[in-house]
Subunit: 149 residues, 2 copies
Amino acid sequence: MAIDRTTEAAWTTLVTTGRRLHDAVGARLKAAGLPPLDWYDALWEIEKAGEGGLRPLELESRLLLPQYGVSRLVDRLAKAGLVERRACPDDRRGQVLHLTAEGREMRATIWPVYEAALTDHIAARMPRQDRLRLVRLLQTLDPGDLSQT
Amino acid sequence: MAIDRTTEAAWTTLVTTGRRLHDAVGARLKAAGLPPLDWYDALWEIEKAGEGGLRPLELESRLLLPQYGVSRLVDRLAKAGLVERRACPDDRRGQVLHLTAEGREMRATIWPVYEAALTDHIAARMPRQDRLRLVRLLQTLDPGDLSQT
DNA sequence: AGCATATGGATGCATCTGCATCAATATTGA
DNA sequence: TCAATATTGATGCAGATGCATCCATATGCT
């Protein structure tokens, strides 16, 4: 028995418009000479964490990255002078991430471009009510937090 | 003026559930010892093209890949003996792609696993009516076919 | 016809990702 | 207290991707 057509349609439109939207927004950043979206996401999570900084483990769960992905993303951010790895006082295996002044500056520089792209691609194309409906529908589809059977 | 909360929510839920779902389904294939989703998509497009085969250019527009991405994906598929590149009669620069018998077999082997994953992750979690609503909403968000401003 | 330009597709190089594993420190339990 | 195990984060290696460019053929223009 073949799969339902609406299931297939939901699958393909979800995956492709998700990817296309992501690419389109990413392209805006690149066109503005800015770093990629992951950088923004990481900077933002670290900045939101405030004074206490953020453990890489936390970043791993907030972003959609495997452990080694975080490790290397942080490498690049640190090499670019945007993030600082500090020793973690509670756990000598661990670290705590903090933004540098440049990191905060970069985050603030990226945001308006990012925001404009979201406005153009989402807010301008879909009324508020539909955005809410979409979010509710999507939430019922989200698989558990990590990889599952 | 800050961006609307629903716009942000739509953005993040769309991108993250899209990616999670894609990862979850991909993980099913891997768990079954099967090749990744792109392979399936390419095989399926080529198979659907039928007797006449498919030009790489067509594949490029149907899948969400840049030109060199198609070139290399086809490399791998050909190396695995699933796809054959034939000379294109009309245009000596071009090629026409065809599935080998093994390619058809592989496509057919992957499908039940893929289908089961879609059923579990989509059909089982969301009623038909909502799937339709979701598709309609997503369609209004799809950026133009390729990269745009 | 003959040259400029456009198109289909491949590829060298740098970067990024996935996988497996490692080293260092923490935690558990006898 | 000490060994077994778990956890944090890094890394060597192979494979994948992005970017720019290249080659070969097609098309357009004069």
